[in-house]
């Protein structure tokens, strides 16, 4: 690899990692705002999304530049393609964190629903999945990526459980229906974030091994 391309790839890596940290922080804040009924923190998440969007565009431009100017092959090519795809997932996770923040802003302005909902476990697993998928990316660690694929089943199951609980709560406390629907949405957003973490993990496996395991992850595990 020419020193020139090595520099460009290093620059892309730094930009991508910076975006990773922004997205992780956004998710963390949105979950905290929900837990602590903190409307101000939720607003911060919503306002800061524009920074994530700008960084997403920067990363994409950097990828396109390297493709056009250096025509990378093999591992370099797979890294650029992976960066492009992960970039999309990160931006979507940013948007979903904003969605969670919007729900928590609403919930903070209204009375708490009488049935306690425990988002902690779901949020914790989802955050850990995102962290693991990003660590797998940084350390090109396929084993960690595989762990992310497995953890997704857990989040899916909790999301399904949450649906049943909310359904029951609506029957029991119909006056809270709006807040309850917002809570259900939070659960769905967390579940979608976990799916994006899975996408990131799958792309890491592609980058390291050159195999596309999407749609057949069960065979892979």
């Amino acid at each position: 690899m020419t020193a020139h391309m090595a520099n460009e790839i290093q620059k892309l890596k730094s930009k991508l990692l910076f975006l990773c940290s922004l997205v992780e922080q956004s998710l963390w804040k949105s979950v905290k705002s929900l837990r602590q009924r903190d409307g101000q923190l939720a607003k911060e998440v919503i306002d800061e999304d524009v920074v994530i969007d700008q960084n997403e565009v920067d990363v994409e431009e950097e990828c396109l530049k390297i493709l056009a100017l250096h025509q990378p092959v093999a591992i370099d090519l797979r890294f650029i393609v992976t960066a492009l795809k992960i970039n999309d997932d990160l931006e979507r996770i940013g948007d979903l964190s904003v969605n969670i923040a919007e729900r928590s802003e609403f919930l903070a302005r209204h009375d708490p629903v009488p049935t306690p909902f425990d988002f902690d476990t779901m949020a914790r697993i989802t955050q850990q999945m995102l962290r693991d998928s990003l660590d797998a990316l940084v350390n090109t660690n396929c084993a960690l990526a595989v762990k992310v694929l497995k953890d997704d089943d857990h989040v899916d199951a909790i999301n399904k459980e949450m649906y049943d609980q909310v359904k029951q709560a609506i029957i029991d406390h119909p006056q809270y229906i709006e807040s309850l629907i917002h809570l259900l949405s939070v659960s769905r957003h967390l579940e979608r974030i976990a799916d994006h973490a899975v996408n990131i993990a799958e792309n890491v496996i592609y980058m390291v091994e050159g195999r596309i395991i999407r749609h057949k992850t069960e065979e892979y595990q």
């Binding site: 690899m1 391309m5 990378p72 092959v73 093999a74 591992i75 797979r78």
Partner: protein, 284 residues
Amino acid sequence: MEPKSAVPLKKTGAGNAVRPQVAADSAAYVDSGKPAVISAERFSFFYGSKCGVNNVSMDIRTGSVTAIIGPSGCGKSTFLRSINRMNDLIPNTRTEGTLAVNGCDVYDKRTNLINLRQQVGMVFQKPNPFAKTIFENIVYGPRLQGVRSKRRLSEMVEKCLRDSAMWDEVKDDLHKSALALSGGQQQRLCIARTLATKPNVLLMDEPCSALDPIATARIEDLIAQLKGTYTIVIVTHNMQQAARVSDYTAFFCLGELIEYDRTDKLFTNPAKKATEDYITGRFG
């Protein structure tokens, strides 16, 4: 961890030699399943005591374009030139193993060199037209083969020039000197001249290295047109060119065949570390 789709390795006859074969699932390729037109079996080539090509086993399929890449001095040109015995004039050389074209051993004593070189045409790095007219350049080979009819020769000239995509450019100048053509046109004329003896294999030794990007693009287009009708083996230092024009790529290093696979596979996910290091420019 080695990917599942790595090149299957098959033991050949005696000894430890392994034959890298292209993956059998290449249904996207027109030549899939076709027999090998060039077949090397533990082939080695020595310059005195120095080994230029070491124990290479590979099959090149009919109608395909195969690129040979590798660092300077890796034996890729030696291997290419071995296919039609261009190295014969170098003193003190010898070969081991077998190298067959259309099922006939190239280095067999009974091999008729003229027939071999009619079947296996060659195009070199620098265009080398004869100092004759365009027409005479093309009919030179057929004349030696005994074609005398003027009408047949004219038809051949038109067909070869059409096949090499330069008929429209030179049809009114057939009796002008070939040396008046541009470098790119001269190279295409050399290809046309090669086609005139009706070969089924075309060997190209860095055919574009002396040409500008536009002339290079025309030669590459021409390779795409000739593919299927002819089996083309091209040696190139330009990796992007190898990736663009070939169906299969062979990577040579220090005289050995390191990896031989479908081009799309080799350039996205090579099975060997040495290949990856070379094509990504980490060494070489």
